[in-house]
Amino acid sequence: MYSEKVMEHFANPRNVGVIEDADGVGEVGNPVCGDVMKITIKVADDRIHDIKFQTLGCGAAIATSSIVTEMAKGMTLADAAAITKQQVADELGGLPPAKMHCSVLATDGLKRAIDDYLVKHGREPIGGPILSEDPDFDPHEVDEECEV
């Protein structure tokens, strides 16, 4: 099932909450699918100065949200926007195949918050497509090993 690190982040999630005067906000997911994530960021010198999240979802959704905020904190916007779902999963010591889509949600939420900040400041977005909202996105096919 879940790795110890997933369970640790699930039980003690880091950076939970909302930054009230956030510079960027990213919200992804859908309650019909059971997962919703909101990331708020504070930006200084093109770096993520502060980051908080709120997530409705399963153990993996909460753990991936928590770890992605930890990874992104202090990073440049460009580096943070480039974090991949695989890096998130690896950082957690792996995820069960059926849960890989949760890491997509976490990186999507982060990318959307970064782009929200950039667009508000008249700059070009850098996050790229939001994978979890692609109509062809099949959460069970995100990974080659993801045969369910």
């Binding site: 309650p31 019909v32 919703v36 409705l56 979802g57 399963c58 153990g59």
Partner: protein
């Protein structure tokens, strides 16, 4: 129970520990009386005698007309598969109409689905929001070529009881056979196959404090049946394979204990369940009992929706706090859809993701129920505080209600 120290087990509908009295009855058939019941020498005869004694005791408990109507199988799923495939395809039949309720266990739904790929037409009959299949709804989908109807006796997730006798009458009036999966009801309510009027009924050992790996198919004499397991012709050719004698003995003993204790145990469990429902609804804002308006329900199952919380997250936190329960959230199933049972009774997916099933049993006590609710309250608070949509969800819910 000693084995359960450290965990408050509230998932008796998933499985049960084997009762020590059942262990005591079965162990000799694993050790000194290990014979093959099909062997002619003394050891074999001894095993055969125990197997037939078990068969008679099971037959008596469910009021079968003859012991030969009891077929021992490997599990409840095998019993369901055998009934669906065995009755639908009896006498070489390769087409026809089959009706199953939409909230059947997958052990019935999947065989029905397989039949639909082999030339049969399958209707999935929806229960109503009270968690019950209404006889007039079955009546409306019956056809001249309907060969089999399968509706479970009690639902495993929401615990609602179905009007089996009436449903069976409707099936028979149109010449169809009637099967019912009774894995959840055996021992918990009175199961009388003749009063219910079923042609076939499926049971599982590990739901009644017998071990995993033994099931029973009740097959009324004269019901056309194509065996699914072929081989040495055991169980009067209906299920080949050397019988699990110890399992059969355990099944019969477990059922006997259920029957003996039911007059006091069923009301005890019902009052424990009522205490649980009352506390959850009182202490957790916006919590709901699923299929609350069901006319009849099993005494030991309560299924809740906790809006604003996802089921697997609740389950994992509860596990860390020492409680074992189940959820119908998508995440628990490995698919993206929440419980087909909850969806079938009209629950929207966003609520079905937040379901919790608590099922009580022989070693459940008032203190367990109270401690469970004490543990659940802060978990719900924590998860709701983390939910970015909580206010919206509750506003929509309040508007809807």
């Amino acid at each position: 129970m000693k084995e359960m120290e450290g965990t408050t087990y509230l998932d008796y509908s998933a499985t049960t520990p084997v009762d020590p009295r059942v262990v005591e009855a079965m162990v000799p058939y694993l050790t000194e009386r290990f014979g093959n019941p099909n062997s002619l020498y003394r050891l074999g005869r001894e095993a055969h005698g125990a197997l037939e004694d078990a068969r008679e005791r099971v037959a008596r408990s469910i009021n079968a007309a003859a012991a030969s109507e009891i077929v021992f199988m490997g599990c409840g799923t095998e019993s369901d598969n055998a009934a669906i495939f065995g009755i639908a395809t009896a006498n070489g039949r390769s087409s026809g109409h089959v009706v199953v309720s939409a909230f059947e266990h997958h052990a019935v739904l999947e065989p029905a689905h397989a039949l639909s790929k082999r030339g049969f037409e399958v209707t999935e009959l929806k229960p109503r929001t009270d968690g019950t299949v209404h006889p007039e709804d079955l009546e409306a989908v019956m056809r001249d070529d309907t060969v089999l109807v399968s509706v479970m006796h009690g639902n495993n997730e929401i615990g609602t009881l179905q009007p089996i006798a009436e449903l069976a009458r409707i099936a028979h009036a149109r010449g169809a056979a009637f099967h019912s999966d009774a894995a959840q009801t055996l021992g918990k309510v009175d199961v009388d196959v003749q009063a219910l009027g079923v042609d076939a009924m499926s049971f599982s050992g590990h739901k009644i404090y017998a071990p995993k790996g033994v099931g029973v198919l009740y097959l009324k004499r004269g019901t056309p049946f194509a065996p699914q397991m072929l081989g040495g012709g055991q169980e009067s050719r209906r299920r080949s394979g050397t019988q699990n004698v110890a399992g059969a003995v355990a099944f019969a003993r477990a059922l006997e204990i259920m029957d003996e204790e039911r007059p006091t145990e069923a009301p005890r469990l019902a009052s424990l369940r009522d205490r649980l429902v009352e506390q959850v609804l009182a202490r957790i804002e916006h919590a709901r009992l699923n299929a609350a308006e069901a006319p009849e329900r099993l005494p030991h199952i309560a299924n809740f929706v906790i809006p604003g919380c996802e089921g697997e997250a609740m389950l994992l936190h509860l596990d860390a706090a020492g409680f074992a329960v189940a959820t119908g959230s998508a995440c628990s199933s490995g698919s993206l859809k929440p419980s087909h049972v909850l969806l079938s009774i009209g629950l929207p997916p966003e609520l079905a993701h937040g379901s919790l099933r608590v099922s009580l049993g022989r070693w459940s006590a008032e203190a367990d129920v109270d401690a469970f609710v004490d543990a659940l309250v802060p978990i719900v608070e924590k998860l709701r505080a983390m939910n970015p949509l909580y206010e919206k969800t509750i506003a929509a819910l309040t508007r809807g209600a």
